[in-house]
């Protein structure tokens, strides 16, 4: 089976190269048969990569330990589902997954029926195939997934127990999909530059691909944070680790891109900016893929793989940056805006400022992440920047972004009348002030907390106000009752109202982050069984410590009962696992999560007198982050959901006349 896998990869590489060149050559020479053969070659690549993927899965499932990859990441005890998930547990497998996803996306892209953008498709497909060829090159010569050991081990090394968590099934593949997907819009942008078709055509082609990829990346990021929170057990969900930053930067720039293409469609402006943004997004996604597996940056995730791998990635990024920005320069004349931003007080200007802020945030994160490399080059000594830097710089930026998102709803396009703005502004502003005062009365005194919550309240109010106005208008014009009007409003304006839902979700997440960052409380205690301690309003009583064995590990479990002045709340059982196959112990934290706050208990250590050490954390509002995340995905899906293709006007008229 591995032979088949190897052959499949081996054949896929030249097919991808052939497809890339045949697409361009065939289109330039108007040789339809050649273009058709390019298309077949692309589909062949998809098929071959799928075969290779199946071969790897087969090897994983059947315990083919002669394959270095299988013996590195699985063992005889590993359950079937984790054996399948081991596909992306290692470098070679995850690159294989990248190639598989790109192959599938490429096939969908060329098979899509489209009215708009037929001329762009061959050039875009060529760029996609060149990217695919790059990954196949790596799979064939640098990180072969089917590499065999000279002997057959009796058992494999097994999967790192920290990865045996449901997150393993979703976080890596979704994150990777969130990287791979940006190849398509990038390829279309290059095609648009090459063919000089730089009006809205490429934007229309690209919008839903970008949105779908953005959804994957968002879920991937949120799942990563969630997984870190429940599994890594340090009480937090984001550490500004280089690999976390690597997947956050493309997200920020992609968000900017999604908004600025709206501006291009609406007003014909920001056309150069849009090209720059998609080139950046794609390259940041490739950079993200690279950072997760290179030793360039000191990170708990990144590991020193062969330096050739790093070099190849950097060369690829260099070439695609050069191509993208170079073509941009050559086509500068064709990209002149159709209009200008007429006034500072306009929706366009809030969009633009927010775009700049998003890219600015990505830029500061980039600088902070690469600072050790830069400082070493400049001063010969490595200087790192940690969470305080990122938090201090980014918090005000993100707050400004949120605030502007709210103001933007209230401002009209082009030149908004300041009088209208003030009128629209007043209601939400008063609501927000009211919230601020109420919070102050209830004991919130930290000025930054008040600012954050007031701003969030303001933006929620603007969105709800907008919804109310829209619903009321529908009710008056179409005589629909309010409930029906509301649903129809969303239904017929999916991109816009989906966007509003996403904004609301972002506010929920922001509130969750603010609450858990500003008001978290930590305590360390050493106690004996039957003793209690308190943290905030909770009283925790240490009941007992228990040792038991399962098939694959020894478990040490400590039971604590939790109560507050309302009575008993339940039990928490933080544990430590000692796996037979794995030297390191795994700490399983115990979390009691409510909408208000999380009670988070870590078992630190114990001795033979029964004295046990715990670390307890109260994290307010963390659940808002995960709930906000779910709402965000829902809103994005609403925005993504295609509206029924409207029939051409002539057909509709004819039908109407009957």
């Amino acid at each position: 089976m591995t032979v088949i896998g190897n052959i499949a990869l081996f054949l896929a590489f030249p097919s991808a190269i052939y497809s890339a060149f045949a697409y361009i050559y065939g289109t330039k020479k108007k040789h339809a048969a050649l273009v058709e053969s390019a298309r077949h070659a692309l589909l062949a690549v998809t098929g071959l990569v799928s075969v290779a993927a199946v071969a790897l899965l087969y090897a994983l499932v059947t315990h083919d330990f002669q394959l270095e990859y299988v013996s590195s990441y699985t063992n005889l005890d590993l359950s079937l589902s984790y054996r399948l998930a081991a596909f992306w547990a290692g470098n070679a497998g995850s690159l294989m997954f990248w190639a598989l996803l790109l192959g599938i996306f490429a096939a969908v892209f060329v098979l899509q029926k489209r009215r708009v953008g037929k001329e762009l498709t061959p050039y875009a497909a060529s760029v996609i195939m060149l990217t695919e060829a790059f990954f196949l090159l790596i799979l064939l010569f640098v990180s072969p997934p089917f590499h065999k050991l000279p002997f057959v081990p009796a058992d494999g090394r097994g999967l790192n127990p920290m990865l045996e968590n449901p997150g393993m099934f979703f976080h890596p593949p979704l994150l990777l999909a969130g990287y791979v997907g940006f190849t398509i819009p990038f390829a279309v942008a290059i095609a648009a530059l090459v063919t000089r078709r730089l009006s809205d055509e490429w934007i229309t082609m690209v919008r839903r691909w970008t949105l779908l990829t953005w959804i994957f990346l968002t879920i991937g990021n949120l799942l990563g944070a969630w997984w870190a929170y429940v599994e890594l057990g340090w009480g937090g969900y984001w550490a500004w680790d280089p690999v976390e930053n690597a997947s956050f930067m493309p997200w920020l720039v992609a968000t900017a891109f999604l908004h600025s293409i709206m501006m291009q469609r609406r007003r014909g402006i920001l056309r150069v900016w849009n090209i720059v943004l998609i080139v950046l997004t794609f390259n940041l996604a490739i950079l993200g893929t690279f950072l997760t597996r290179s030793g360039v940056l000191s990170s708990v995730h990144a590991f020193a793989e062969s330096p050739i791998l790093g070099m190849l990635f950097l060369v690829f990024i260099g070439i695609s940056l050069f191509a993208g920005l170079g073509l941009l320069y050559l086509r500068m004349e064709d990209l002149k805006s159709e209009a200008e931003i007429e006034s500072l007080v306009s929706r366009e200007s809030t969009f633009l400022i927010n775009n700049l802020l998003l890219v600015g945030a990505a830029f500061t994160i980039f600088l902070g992440t690469f600072f050790p490399v830069i400082s070493e080059a400049v001063r010969g000594v490595k200087v790192t920047v940690g969470p305080p830097f990122f938090n201090q710089v980014n918090a005000p930026i993100f707050l400004a972004i949120i605030l502007l998102a709210g103001i933007c709803t209230l401002i009209g396009w082009r030149q908004a009348s300041t009088r209208n703005l003030v009128r629209n502004f007043l209601g939400p502003f008063i609501a927000a002030l009211g919230l601020g005062v109420a919070l102050f009365i209830f004991g919130v005194r930290e000025w930054y907390a008040l600012i954050v919550f007031t701003v969030c309240g303001f933006v929620i109010a603007t969105i709800l106000y907008e919804w109310f106005r829209g619903t009321r208008a529908r009710n008056r014009i179409r005589n629909e009752n309010y409930l029906k009007a509301f649903f129809n409003l969303i239904r017929t304006n999916r991109p816009r109202y989906g966007g509003y839902i996403v904004h609301l979700a972002v506010i929920l997440i922001a509130v969750g982050i603010a609450g858990s960052s500003i008001y978290n409380v930590e305590k360390e205690v050493d106690i004996l069984p039957s003793e209690s301690f308190t943290i905030n309003d909770y009283t925790l009583t240490y009941e007992n410590i228990d040792y038991y064995e399962t098939e694959s590990k020894t478990v040490v479990a400590t039971t604590l009962s939790v109560a507050n002045h309302g009575g008993t709340l339940g039990k928490l059982i933080p544990e430590k696992y000692f796996h037979q196959n794995y030297e390191q112990s795994v700490t399983e934290v115990a979390i009691r999560s409510t909408v208000l706050e999380d009670l988070y208990v870590i078992l630190v250590g114990w001795d033979n007198t029964g004295m046990t050490s715990f670390k307890v954390i109260v994290n307010p509002l963390v659940k808002w982050i995960w709930l906000g995340g779910i709402l965000l995905v829902f809103g994005a899906l609403v925005a993504f959901w295609p509206e029924k293709e409207k029939q051409p006007a002539a057909v509709r008229k004819a039908a109407g006349r009957k």
Binding site: V300, H301, Q392, V393
Partner: protein, 117 residues
């Protein structure tokens, strides 16, 4: 607005920047970097790891990646699951007067394997 961003960046940097050294480098500059918070990168020397009572402290030595220079470390805090003997690690903390590096943060790397998370 760019000025505001630059200002934010500058102040953020001032509060978050930390020097990063290999063990050998660090020991060479020991007089100038005593008492400041730094990060030191090295390998955990097998046989030197001792866990303190109740798992709340950890003592070990780190050795320069290229061998040779060694530094004793005393860490206070919860030991991350990824820590193990022989592993590549970055310790953040300060050198104290007696030559022991007082660490408050441990960032172990997993051995040459790509593992997310």
């Amino acid at each position: 607005m760019f000025l505001a961003l630059a200002y934010l960046g500058y102040t953020g940097f001032a509060s978050g920047a930390t020097y990063y050294y290999e063990v050998g480098e660090f020991l060479q500059q020991v007089d100038s970097v005593r008492d400041i918070n730094v990060k030191v990168h090295g390998n955990v020397v097998p046989g030197t790891v001792e866990q303190g009572p109740l798992g709340k402290t950890l003592e070990f030595e780190i050795e320069d990646i290229e061998g040779g220079a060694r530094l004793p470390v005393f860490y206070q805090g919860v030991v991350p699951d990824t820590f193990k003997t022989g592993i590549e690690i970055v310790v953040e903390g300060q050198l104290d007067a007696s030559g022991v590096f007082q660490g408050h943060t441990l960032m172990p790397k997993c051995p040459s394997k790509y593992t997310p998370g």
